[in-house]
Amino acid sequence: MQRFEELEHVQPVAVRMLKQMITNQRIAHAYLIHGDSGTKKRAIAQTLALRLFCQETDTIEPCLTCRDCKRVISGNYPDLHWIKPDGLSIKKEQIEALQREFTYSGVESNRKVYIIEDADLMTVNAANRLLKFLEEPSQETTAILLTKNQQQLLDTIRSRCQVIALRPLSGQAIEQALIESGVTPENARLFQAVAPQLDQAKALDQDEWFAEARKLMVQLMQLLIDKPEEALLFVEKNWMNHFDDRDKLLMGLDLLLYWFKDLMYLHIGDIEHLVLLSYKDQLEQASLRYRRIDLVNILTAITQAKRKLNQHTHPTLVMEQLTLQMQR
């Protein structure tokens, strides 16, 4: 994705803003682009750099075919400096090297662009050095800072940049991105429902705790149908051990919520929106055991349990009560 046109589908507001600035020839000296991972921060920064360096274009889009464009894409353009964290942080030395570079005139033209990825990972020293540099931009210099977490940046840096907020990815976009990165479609659907951000969703794929949590949830649901009298014991022995703090239990309750929501979807015949795709067979069997009104009551019970948990009711009591409510 190297054209604004393509990026506009993902980030309409931000891209329209940038296009306006290019048409009006009002390029700011520094941009701060922030958004969750997967929101195309890098692609937007690169396209902006391409447009600034491309000499063959009269439109908003870079031409992508000229020598300058090709070199920006391959990373060989000498006046574009792309800074990435060296290990866990962006070090003072990296910013110093950048500053030294900028005391020279440009190699090919006098336009220079620097892009700092994960700008929130700058050490305090590095950030302060950059600040001095942001304050006194030489002409035709454009800084593009990218971050996932703009609150972690110094206020003084933020106030010197034009801030461009990228909107978070939609559930479908995350699901698509997960499938592209090799997650099975069934899991992708569940992960995007549980985790609001691409990073977190990706992490779930490797998370053993979460895999176990899913298993427990299905076991509990089977027990409720087959041997309801053992459900409480199961909650006591297995469930509470695994979901041993408030946040984990909340996640467990979410999984239950998806289960019953899916049952509801099956009832009304809406298969499109199923979340727990990998347990479709079990869901179909279970749906025969519940009336629609039961499902509504259980869903209400789960949301209430969640509320209670947030109000610091004892987790075991909440879970036990919920189990009894689900048994009926």
């Binding site: 020598r67 500053q99 005391t103 440009g106 190699v107 090919e108």
Partner: protein, 379 residues
């Protein structure tokens, strides 16, 4: 691209361009050497983006054929391997060819190398320099000018513009000025009649680039052609192009710093003064600023240094003459030694304007060189 070339010549050219290549560069393509086959000869380019060196091997020179069977084209190959390969090839001639996939084949005698190259389009474009604002200067004059100024550039990056040498051309006279804000070195030279119309003011060449240039040009009577573009300066010898980026920013006005009147002026043998200061600084090295004291006597200068933990030294230097007020002044021995070392004439003239004011030195009968040093306040 294809050509057959004399190995010795190629190797010599490679050694020149290798001087510009640094293993640590931000742009990956700059770890390579660009090789261009033109109808007139072969051009090699190396660069670390601050300086770039181009070396040209003409097809024919003085009736000798250097390069044969040229098919034009260009490629970038890894600088880490290519020169070593050329050095160790068995025959006197090398055949070099490339294919469409940026593969280079090097053949000499029975040995055949295949090297992976890169597209030459990826290489930075060096500016095309206009010839109408270029001028010429002799090699040895240029070397002298570099030697006499570049030592005074600032080595700290607090004021980046001071890490360069300011080049000015006005009224057919070219001046180099370097300062680190504690001392200043200036050298000027008259250009040949043809270049009177050329004017430059705020050209600041990085000190490092000039030091590198000094190593590359040989001492000879040949002429060096200098041209200036927006962001680069080109020094051009017969077959070698040396390009350097310029420093961005405004060089401070230095003319006003040089005092016009003097209260005390001294004429003294350069060598004697240099040696005396050098001796005095032996003890001064201990203290932080390497400070020596100078005091005028009737017919001599008394140089002294005192470091309480180590000891003290005094030495009288006989002068040719001293005019004006009595004076006591302290200054950095290192700056004074640097300044005196570049003066080749026998006698040096020093103008003081009080103990707290900068003083200037220049060789007798030569107003092309001027050195200015700021004194150090001592109690």
């Amino acid at each position: 691209m294809k050509f057959i070339i004399q190995r010795e010549l190629l190797l010599e050219s490679l050694q020149h361009v290798m001087k510009a290549i640094s293993p640590r560069v931000a742009v990956p393509i700059l770890t390579g050497i660009k090789i261009e086959a033109l109808p007139t000869g072969i051009k090699l380019t190396g660069s670390d983006s601050d300086i770039s060196i181009e070396s040209f091997i003409p097809k024919e020179e003085d009736g000798l054929v250097h390069v044969e069977d040229i098919e034009t084209g260009s490629i970038v190959v890894q600088a880490k391997y290519f020169p070593e390969i050329i050095r160790k090839l068995p025959l006197k001639t090398v055949e070099i060819s490339t294919d469409d996939n940026y593969q280079m084949t090097v053949v000499s005698g029975g040995s055949e190398f295949h090297l992976n190259g890169q597209d030459a389009m990826e290489y930075p474009q060096l500016p095309v320099l206009h010839t109408d604002n270029s001028f010429e200067i002799k090699h040895d004059v240029m070397k002298e000018m570099i030697k006499q100024t570049v030592f005074a550039v600032s080595t700290v990056e607090t004021r980046p513009i001071l890490t360069g040498v300011n080049m000015k051309i006005d009224n057919g006279e070219m001046t180099f000025v370097a300062t680190d804000s504690h001392r200043l070195a200036s050298r000027s030279v008259k250009l040949a009649e043809d270049f009177v119309h050329i004017q430059f003011n705020n050209i600041v060449i990085p000190g490092k680039s000039l030091a590198e240039l000094n190593k590359i040009i040989d001492e000879s009577d040949d002429s060096l052609t200098i041209s200036v573009a927006d962001n680069q300066i080109l020094f051009q010898t017969k077959n070698l192009y040396f390009l350097s980026r310029l420093l961005d920013g405004k060089y401070p006005e230095t003319d006003r710093l040089i005092p016009e009147v003097s209260k005390t002026s001294v004429k003294v043998k350069t060598k004697t003064l240099l040696q005396a200061i050098d001796r005095a600084s032996l003890l001064a090295k201990e203290n932080r600023n390497n400070v020596v004291k100078l005091e005028t006597r009737d017919n001599a200068l008394q140089i002294s240094s005192n470091t309480p933990e180590v000891g003290q030294v005094t030495e009288d230097v006989i002068t040719d003459h001293i005019d004006g007020e009595q004076l006591k002044i302290s200054f950095s021995a290192k700056y004074m030694i640097d300044a005196l070392r570049i003066i080749e004439e026998d006698n040096v003239i020093v103008h003081f304007t009080g103990a707290m004011r900068p003083f200037i030195l220049y060789p007798e009968n030569n107003d092309h060189i001027l050195q200015l040093i700021l004194p150090v306040r001592t109690y």
